[in-house]
Symmetry: C2
Subunit: 342 residues, 2 copies
């Protein structure tokens, strides 16, 4: 069996299963040294309890030609985004970023000035969100890639308050920060051309794709407010909500009319904005669930407005999206497969 014969999800499961017993042994040994593992594989980041509180650890990689094209993403934006995707994972645990290592796989024909610009973009991100690049590795590679590993810490006043994927319960409301779909629209504009868009919308959408803003203060505020279930939206709302529901063993009902989208997205793509908002990836907004009473106070504590888009239901019902007439628009059950209008 080759990698191309199975999906990413199945591959991760196979690898996790292959090492389960040994991994348990390793984690147990570290537990005995005072490091209490809270979450290894299966969430936005690994998390453990140490004498100083909660620490988290995540890694995320961008490969040229797979995750980015230099003609669409400038050097500075590339640096911002490579770090931002990791910071977003830390934010989705309710934590703040601390130290990062950056590993570069470099071809000989990469311009050095581009790399320094890229680091400048990383520094713009750390200035905005916190954290520091403290090392890494530079290796020769036939394909250009950027591999970042990032640590984070939970806030002292939210001691055991991690945001985990498996804490959703039937009856919880489902909400997202900010708006959805702009990043996917930005990529669409970049690859298909800008004719359809006014200049100001173009800049907004392109920025949404190339300079996503991780929701660090929002993640911390959610954790402090008693929210216990969240993840960041990197693969698209419906896909990621499917992962959250699988982890929590629940289903979800989403109301299409409540999906938040920026007016500039709607104006640029009047017929496809909802498809982009439901299925487009790389929003890096936080998707979270909480009981109604917690949701109310949590939403009030956020710097970026959050919108309630649906509710958590029993597991048998899968992940469903309904239009304003109550007609089911889209189906995902466990693993969401593709857009389908029923």
């Amino acid at each position: 069996m080759l990698v191309r014969d199975i999906g990413e999800f199945e591959l991760i499961s196979k690898l996790a299963a292959a090492i389960a017993a040994s991994s348990q042994r390793d984690i147990q040994s570290l537990n005995e040294c005072g490091f209490k593992m809270l979450r290894a594989i299966g969430d936005d980041a690994a998390a453990w309890h140490s004498p100083q509180g909660i620490s988290v650890f995540t890694a995320d990689t961008m490969v040229e030609g797979v995750h980015f094209e230099r003609r669409y993403t400038g050097w500075r934006d590339l640096g911002w985004k490579a770090l931002a995707t990791n910071v977003s994972d830390v934010a989705a645990m309710g934590c703040a970023p601390t130290y990062a290592t950056v590993t570069l796989g470099l071809r000989g024909d990469i311009p050095v000035d581009g790399l320094t610009e890229m680091y400048t973009g990383m520094m713009e991100l750390t200035a905005a969100c916190g954290g520091a690049v403290v090392g890494g590795d530079i290796v020769k590679s036939p394909v250009f890639f950027i591999s970042v590993a990032l640590q984070g810490v939970g806030h002292a006043d939210a001691h055991d308050a991690l945001l985990l994927r498996d804490n959703a319960r039937p009856g919880d409301l489902i909400a997202v920060t900010g708006t959805l779909g702009a990043s996917a629209a930005g990529l669409k504009l970049l690859t298909e051309g800008a004719d359809a868009a006014g200049l100001s919308s173009y800049a907004f959408l392109e920025d949404a794709h190339n300079r996503p803003m991780p929701r660090v203060s929002e993640g911390e505020a959610l954790a402090r407010s008693g929210v216990r279930c969240a993840m960041d939206i990197s693969d698209g709302l419906v896909d990621d909500l499917g992962k959250l529901c699988r982890a929590s063993e629940v289903g979800a009902r989403i109301n299409a009319a409540d999906i938040p989208a920026d007016d500039r997205l709607k104006a640029t793509y009047p017929s496809s904005w909802l498809t982009l908002a439901l299925g487009g990836g790389e929003d890096y907004e936080l998707l979270f669930t909480a009981p109604p009473e917690v949701m109310q106070s949590a939403s009030a504590a956020l710097a970026t407005p959050a919108t309630i888009i649906g509710e958590v239901v029993e597991v048998g019902q899968g992940v469903n999206v309904f239009d304003e007439d109550g007609i089911r628009m889209m189906v995902g059950s466990g693993g969401w497969d593709h857009f389908r209008k029923e």
Copy 2:
């Protein structure tokens, strides 16, 4: 200017300079949150002081066709080695490994069974050296690579005792753990064929190349014994000693007759074993310096024997290797360039 126009060392300097001011700002912000940075770029790992003691953080990547070939390194050995190179960096700081993330860049034609074997090799390494794989990332890539990030902690009874590259002082003795050159000989045998070697030597040398043993307990013992200067040997003794001397602003005298090499290496390569021991890479032994009185007690505390191979001298003298007649064999000054018999 392109990456191929400048060396790795110069590239790292340029990138570090480009972000120096911003990086200082980020680290200062974290200092104010109780994370006191001890060492960012420039040693085997980044290191900082947190309420629980010293933490270290390192990253190391292997790219197929650059750092390994699957026909020479089996899947299980590949997993062992990808983690071992990182664990060795943590050991070279005097610390023990804790949590690792593993990022895989995968082509579609990579066999899944190979990957599970690779993780088995990683688990064999953590069973031997400690630490746990707790997450990572799997991405599509046109070239197969393995990027590992690893954290470690200083031992409670060696609180502020990091092993740093810039702590060598004139008058210190220079020592290495184990023996040198076997890994380079193993690679030579693998690539050039095994005709020259007896079977048992072949297995030993191949193992030295594919399953290097990080010197974790040795690094911790050195830190506890009062040693303050060490690094691991990954690019070859003379090259790495040059880096240590540059960081410490000192020179070094090495006695060729004292270089420790295994008899099986000498028997297999009777005329080139010394060249392999001085210049071959990937030994992953610890290179350390200490005043004579510290060196004596430190050496006695090591599970793997250490050998004194020379002494630290004033900076003007560079890094020099002398034969048994006191004739200078090899010169490196600041940046070591190539083998040269004078």
